[in-house]
Amino acid sequence: MDTTVAIELAVNGTPVGRRVEPRLCLADFLRYDLELTGTHVGCEHGVCGACTVRVDGALVRACLMLAVQADGCRVETIEGVSGTGEVSDLQQAFAEANALQCGFCTPGMLLTAHEILQREPGADPARIRLALSGNYCRCTGYQAIVDAVHRVGGARGRETR
């Protein structure tokens, strides 16, 4: 018996149609069905932040959303925002500040950091640290990440002034 469900969505601007098992989470759909492996899967219960993506503009955990729930939605992954250059300043700052080592947490960190800076352009290091507390990094010790995000926040502020 075919238990799959048809879904249609836009992933990084490209229309996608597939049949999926209802129990397939969005993160596994992106990774295995679409081979967009920049979305990482660490804990599968919402704690580590490695799977963070955007759905209809909102930051979400792709491990806690079913692929069927993304039917009709606009999904953006790290591949998408890298392609558009939306986070290129953050990516460069991460490289310069040594804010990544193994890189496992980096896609989720970049998407979360970008959202923080959009909501609170002048966020100070304490606010940035608080907002990133839902994203685990097992390598860097976080200081370099907070530095990089803070630096970009300042640079973006100077640009718009």
């Binding site: 238990t3 469900v5 098992e21 209802p22 129990r23 989470c25 596994d28 599968e44 219960h45 919402g46 932040g49 963070t52 909102a58 930051l59 979400v60 955990r61 491990c63 806690l64 959303m65 079913l66 069927v68 729930q69 979360t112 959202e115 923080i116 608080l130 907002a131 507390s133 839902g134 994203n135």
Partner: protein, 285 residues
């Protein structure tokens, strides 16, 4: 791990959702934000036969000020509630509590209805709803009813909702003149469930707390109202001796659990710390 297989339904209306719940009985589960249910599915702590996804039912996400008070629809997302000027003005306790719930990418999906229906004993929203004297609106094929927050929470993740019943909204009474709120909690890490949380709501008059409602999370199976500490505060000048007496009354009336996160003694101590902070905050504000 991955979830066990289930059938997925996405009803477009409340009557359709109720019919599906009736059809599946104990095998059916409402899926709202999924931020508690999907982890349980992933870990196979929950293995329902059918998920009834209510996310696309129109009108359930309202945040509205009505004659009865502030109405928060079951599907109002915590991120939207946190940023709502209506909530800031009419339920400041909830506005203060929400930044403590999980993290941004979890709050964008988490719903008011899910947070109340899930009834985690350490959760912030249930404590706020009890402190504010709110009500829960529930709907089933038998009709609708309103349940007072104090009667709604029955045990660990157990509520007054019956089989086939869906939570449609919660209602918080309008903020009465002179009433102020303070929410604070202590957790191991920001965004974790609280070790202890205190939702304090009080009427301030002549530099005293004329009436106080104190509700704690993380210290019992449900939100716990601290009636003796409330009495110890009511109408007193809050000098050091009075604060000590209130903290002592609170420690005596609480019977918190010991678990891997904290001992009962630590939780009792932290409750006193939160009480002192809340009293100071309420009187200063």
């Amino acid at each position: 791990m991955k979830p066990a297989p289930f059938v997925y339904h996405r009803p477009a209306s409340l009557p359709d959702a109720l019919a599906l719940l009736e059809r599946y009985g104990a095998e059916g589960r409402v899926l709202a934000g999924g931020q508690s249910l999907v982890p349980a599915l992933n870990m196979r702590l929950a293995t329902p036969g059918a998920l009834i996804d209510i996310n696309r039912i129109p009108g359930l996400d309202e945040i509205r000020l009505g004659a009865e008070g502030l109405v928060l629809g079951a599907l109002a997302r915590l991120d939207a509630v946190e940023r709502s000027p209506l909530v800031a003005a009419h339920a400041p306790l909830i506005a203060q509590a929400l930044p403590h719930v999980a993290h941004l990418a979890v709050r964008t999906r988490s719903t008011v209805g899910g947070g109340i229906a899930h009834a985690d004993p350490a959760a912030e929203l249930p404590a706020c709803l009890v402190a504010l004297g709110g009500t829960v609106r529930a709907l089933s094929r038998r009709g609708s009813r309103e349940i007072g927050a104090a009667e709604f929470f029955r045990g660990v993740c157990t509520t007054a909702l019956g089989p086939g019943e869906v939570l449609t909204a919660v209602v918080v009474p309008r903020l009465a003149p002179g009433w102020r709120s303070r929410f604070d909690e202590l957790a191991r890490r920001h965004g974790d469930y609280a070790l202890v949380a205190l939702a304090a709501h009080a009427r301030v008059a002549d530099g005293t707390l004329a009436e106080a409602r104190l509700v704690l999370a993380g210290v019992g199976a449900t939100p716990v109202r601290a009636a003796r500490a409330e009495a110890a505060l009511a109408g007193r000048r809050m000098d050091a001796a009075a604060l000590d007496a209130a903290a002592r009354a609170l420690a005596e009336e609480l019977d918190p659990p010991s678990d891997v996160h904290a001992s009962a003694a630590l939780r009792r101590h932290l409750a006193g710390v939160l009480l002192r902070r809340a009293v100071r905050g309420l009187l200063e504000a």
